[in-house]
Assembly symmetry: C2
Homo-oligomer: 351 residues x 2
């Protein structure tokens, strides 16, 4: 690959699109001067926004798309009629080699369905998964799947573990990441068959990263492992519960600083430190969920983010491309004999 990286952006996806997409691209091109963008969307509207960001026009090409995916469109509708949308065209740019990766802040279900259809799964991957990372007591932790697969068997969980290991290595820069399977207890007898079988496989197979066994819900924010592996139902609930709890506590803290004269005075003194804390746990710093296991880099930005957050999501795509995450993933998956894995799972389940 040449040093030049090109990212396709769905300019029309997200609550404040196309404004935040264009402004986000402008922030990202300052952070990553070796990157160019192809913006898909309403050409007149997008070009006018690009013209307003001084110097951005050198780094972008605008390509017209007539349609956009709506937030409440169902994946089935979109796959039938969505070929004229900015999202579809942006993903196609990756398949056709015009871009190295794609970022969208649009409808998650639509993006996942289209990306599966256009980019296809990486060879050896049964089920692509959504991975993201967030702050913990010890640094940062990757979790997957966050909602692409509601029910998972042992093989899926083993694949997620391989994919999550690569993601932690590539995005967080962790050497030999530790991996834990999310369960309701650390004892080997806990959980369901899929979890116990996956734990046996991960212990027996010689895979990259260090499998430490089962972890529990409180181990996620504690940062007990670098990669938390779980099915998409549990992962989605756990991530949203953690986000909601953080919001709840922030609301409590705000109220606490307001609830007396002396507390207000205290806030004046402590404000700078609290601003730092806010910046440290700023969700915009953790924006960008990766669809792992596809023939191409596809990153989903939060729909409600601003330009700074969107630039972070672009950064996730750039890191995956720059450090060739998908090539590493492919070679790690190839270390698994796919014909061996299936019967092992079956025999483990039968025993």
């Amino acid at each position: 690959m040449s040093d030049q990286i090109t990212i396709a952006l769905d300019a029309m996806g997200g609550d404040s699109a196309p404004q935040i997409v264009v402004a986000g691209a402008n922030i990202a091109r300052r952070r990553h001067p070796d990157v160019k963008f192809i913006l898909y969307g309403d050409a007149d509207e997008v070009s006018a926004l690009v013209a307003r960001q001084r110097g951005l026009d050198e780094f972008v090409e605008v390509r017209h798309a007539d349609e956009r995916v709506q937030p409440d469109d169902k994946p089935s509708q979109i796959v039938r009629s969505g070929k004229e949308t900015s999202m579809w065209k942006a993903i196609e740019a990756v398949r056709d080699g015009d871009a190295d990766g794609v970022v969208s802040a649009g409808n998650t279900g639509a993006l996942l369905a289209m990306a599966m259809l256009i980019l296809k799964r990486l060879e050896g991957i049964d089920r692509p998964a959504i991975a993201s990372f967030f702050p913990t007591l010890r640094g940062e932790t990757v979790m997957l799947d966050l909602g692409a697969n509601i029910q998972c068997d042992a093989r899926n969980l083993v694949e997620f573990s391989i994919m999550g290991e690569v993601f932690a290595r590539t995005i967080l820069g962790v050497q030999d990441p530790t991996i834990g399977l999310l369960n309701v207890g650390e004892e080997e007898t806990k959980g369901n068959d899929a979890l116990r079988d996956a734990a046996n496989l991960l212990q027996d197979l010689d895979l990259p990263g260090e499998f430490v066994g089962f972890v529990e819900g409180d181990d996620i924010p504690a940062g007990a492992v670098d990669v938390v592996v779980t099915d998409g139902f549990t992962g989605n609930v756990a991530l949203k519960t953690a986000e909601g709890t953080a919001k709840l506590l922030n609301a409590f803290i705000k109220e606490t600083f307001r609830n007396s004269f002396w507390a207000k005075i205290g806030y004046i003194f402590a404000k700078r430190s609290f601003d730092k804390l806010r910046s440290r746990s700023d969700p915009r710093r953790y924006n960008g969920a990766m669809f792992l296991g596809l023939n191409g880099v596809c990153v989903k930005s939060h729909g409600g983010t601003d330009a700074v957050g969107f630039a972070t999501a672009i950064g996730v795509a750039i890191d995956m491309i720059k450090y060739d995450g998908n090539a590493l993933l492919k070679s790690n998956i190839e270390r698994l004999d796919p014909d061996i894995l299936r019967p092992q799972v079956a025999s483990a389940a039968a025993s």
Copy 2:
């Protein structure tokens, strides 16, 4: 029932038993002067502790038990050999009518297994569940199941919803509690068959409380509903993730107040308000998980709690007894024709 309430206590269960159990009973008898206790455990040790709490001896009877359940005993071992333990004898006191309820801070799996065996399920209940309550943005919310049932069908979820509604009414004093089913999205098509079938049943059946549909992880700390219904795997992960996230943020706040001279000054002014916040979200105020769906009141205290927390768990048992939660639960379950529910689930699953 006479006004006199008797609670059996497993004096030997918990990290700091029997000290915190005896001290907890002493706090509880001041809060609830109409309650008496039977303490099961090493009679010499427990009696000596009781003698040290002035005035407590009038309210307690000590009954000897030779053995105690160890924290790492497996449920299967205990059920075979545990009849001489303080936990077993305390539960038996409820079955035999000597006590109206039992509280233990011992091994959760053992307590659940013994309680199922000794007290048996309430008629009409297929699967008892663990319920607890915690602070949210709007007040307090009940969640169940927290780990008794790893996999659940639609009928189990409907039963949990009936049990959770009674628990919210009895413990939180909420009139007509709102109920939500935990899922990965609010749309009717989200989740698995069990969730969709349970949602249809809860919409169609005329049950107490107000079923509002699906809720997501962030709705739990937001307090979007009074009762969150989920399977024991997801509930356990969500509760522990929320607890861990709260711990993470408390650690961040502590660090923030320490990280500069000015922040330390600020803390001096704001300390009183932060003490109030700490007391408001004090886990000891939310101690006491109820095993719902049994012929008797059985409450599990956190094993690591102190006397204040143990007294809260005793309070949960007292409220369930005083407001006759199990009688309400029984009459609500009887409103369900058990023969109707099964086929409905089957046909919903087949459609």
